[in-house]
């Protein structure tokens, strides 16, 4: 189920003194099973891009195609899109409202009209996926849980409708290291084992650099870099834009500046280690 942007442009608060460009002529296609990292300075349009994926924002120009169908062609198409493209907002734990974890996670499946038994099964599966024990957590109040747990509940709430494409807006922001790691593991499993397409907006690439197939960089609402993670992350534009690059990339840039002939485009600590060992021999 590929999702395609064709020449998308979007302006916020059109025709007011507060008008702001969100996206300008963005075209891209994300294919099945890809894991794309989206990077860019603050205010570059990353969140705006995500909100076009499931039709929360309607482009002023251009169209969004899910499985070759324009998602705004009918209200049925839009509804189906929202079911197939799960969107996890930034700080999703701030949007929890349910009085129990179960109620919170069941919200999506209930809205889409699944039968009660089916809803229960979906909640169970979603909780299992994010690593929350069903019996232990289902009757607890979301607000009494830790930040990391809340975030996982929010993720489960999106996964419960079984989306094929999962888009996450800075999902690890504000989590502690173990929370981050758990989240990355969960998404890795969804991508690798269940073939879900993942679109992951982030400021910190190191934690997923070796996992993503592709990195997309936007600046001022336009795509400026799009390609394999290794190529994009080693591009000098990344550092010029002040974006995070993996430590290995930083080291290799530094060594090259010092006149060392680092070969290839190392991405992981392992790879740069091999290069260093090779160079000192």
């Amino acid at each position: 189920m590929p999702i395609e942007f064709r020449n998308i442009s979007y302006t916020y608060s059109k025709k007011t003194p507060f008008a702001r460009k969100g996206l300008t002529n963005v075209s891209l296609t994300v294919n099945d099973g890809e894991w794309v990292a989206v990077m860019g300075p603050t205010g570059s349009g990353k969140s705006t891009l995500l909100q076009h994926l499931n039709g929360l924002l309607k482009p002023d120009l251009g169209e969004v195609l899910l499985d070759h169908v324009n998602i705004h062609s009918s209200s049925a198409a839009l509804r189906e899109t929202r079911q197939k493209v799960g969107l996890v907002f930034q700080y999703p734990e701030h949007q929890l409202f349910g009085s129990t974890v179960y109620e919170e996670i069941a919200y999506g499946p209930e809205n889409y009209g699944y039968a009660a038994s089916d809803v229960e099964q979906r909640v169970k599966t979603a909780m299992e996926t994010v690593g929350l024990d069903y019996l232990k957590y289902k009757d607890r109040h979301p607000y009494e849980l830790s930040g990391g747990e809340k975030r996982r509940i929010a993720l489960a709430g999106v996964l419960a409708t079984d989306p094929q494409i999962i888009a996450l807006d800075e999902p690890t922001a504000g989590l502690d290291p173990s929370g981050r790691q758990k989240l990355v593991e969960t998404i890795t499993q969804l991508n690798r084992d269940y073939g879900k397409t993942v679109i992951w907006v982030t400021h910190e690439i190191t934690e997923i650099a070796a996992l993503v197939n592709r990195v997309l960089v936007i600046k001022d609402g336009q795509v400026v870099l799009d390609g394999a993670a290794r190529e994009v992350l080693n591009n000098h534009l990344m550092t010029q834009l002040g974006l995070d690059v993996p430590v290995a990339v930083e080291i290799s840039h530094h060594m090259r500046r010092k006149g060392k002939a680092v070969e290839g485009q190392p991405l992981t600590i392992e790879e740069i280690k091999k290069e260093i060992v090779r160079l000192v021999r």
């Binding site: 608060s13 007011t16 929360l56 929202r82 919200y107 999506g108």
Partner: protein
């Protein structure tokens, strides 16, 4: 839900922007009272044109309709209720309900008054930055300090409220979008579902409002805010000659209107 909302300030350089906030507050208070004196189509048209003129003068005419949109339902409901429930000469027979001449007039009067009230009071916030507004209010309330009115605290509360209106809208928008992304249909006709959606919206909104209030009070105290303390302003407000001129012309006009209306 994007764009201008009630209580928002649109930066600018117009004549109205430059007036002292006290001048604007006093004039708008008087004009809000004048609205209730208006009678007959001529006066209503005149006042309407005057408001349009002020919006053009302030360079915020683009915001006019946006400001009115939230109030429009209120106006429509007022209009309909008045039209149907006022007894009098029937002009249109709709079977179940009759529209009377008196009801139509009553409804239009109330509707226009609402529109005037909303657009008039919004004009002040549209052309005055929250900081200047607070200072202006504080100075206006100062004489009442002697009788125990906490002028600076009231002004501060007002300032915070104004400051947080856009934030609150943004938050609402964000939560609403998160719900829609999970299949909520806020336009549903099913009342039970609608109540469920609204609850799902209100709970996180309140939680976030309390969290924000908590954070803000902590930040204010950390920077030494104490209730009842004598504070000075970074930018002292000063009434300029143009303020006195505008106020003089304004009061003469209003007086002329009232005298002409009731005493001649």
């Amino acid at each position: 839900m994007e764009g201008i909302v009630l209580g928002q300030y649109v930066p600018g350089n117009s004549f109205l922007h430059k007036l002292d906030p006290r001048t604007k507050l006093i004039m708008s208070a008087v004009l809000l009272w004048v609205i209730f004196l208006l009678e007959g189509p001529l006066e209503y048209t005149g006042f309407g044109l005057f408001i349009v003129f002020l919006y053009l003068l302030a360079g915020v005419s683009g915001s006019f309709l946006k400001i009115l949109r939230p109030g429009l339902y209120l106006v429509l409901i007022t209009l309909i209720i008045n039209m149907i429930f006022t007894p009098g000469r029937v002009v249109l027979d709709l079977g179940l309900a009759d529209i009377t001449r008196e009801g139509l007039i009553q409804g239009l009067t109330m509707g226009f008054r609402l529109v005037f009230l909303i657009s008039m009071s919004s004009l002040v916030t549209l052309t005055t930055s929250p900081v200047r507004m607070t200072d202006g209010l504080e100075l206006l309330l100062k004489p009442f300090k002697k009788i125990g009115v906490p002028a600076s605290e009231l002004a501060m509360m007002m300032n915070i409220a104004l400051r947080f209106i856009p934030t609150f809208w943004e938050e609402t928008d964000k939560i609403r979008k998160a719900q829609i992304a999970r299949g909520a249909d806020f336009d549903s006709w099913n009342l039970g579902r609608r109540i469920k959606y609204i609850t799902a919206l209100l709970v996180p909104l309140f939680v976030s409002a309390f969290r924000k209030a908590d954070e803000l009070s902590m930040a204010m105290e950390a920077r030494g805010y104490t209730v009842g303390m004598e504070r000075t302003s970074l930018h002292e407000l000063k009434m300029n000659p143009r303020d006195y001129l505008v106020l003089t012309v304004f009061f003469i006009s209003v007086a002329a209107f009232v005298i002409n209306k009731y005493f001649i």
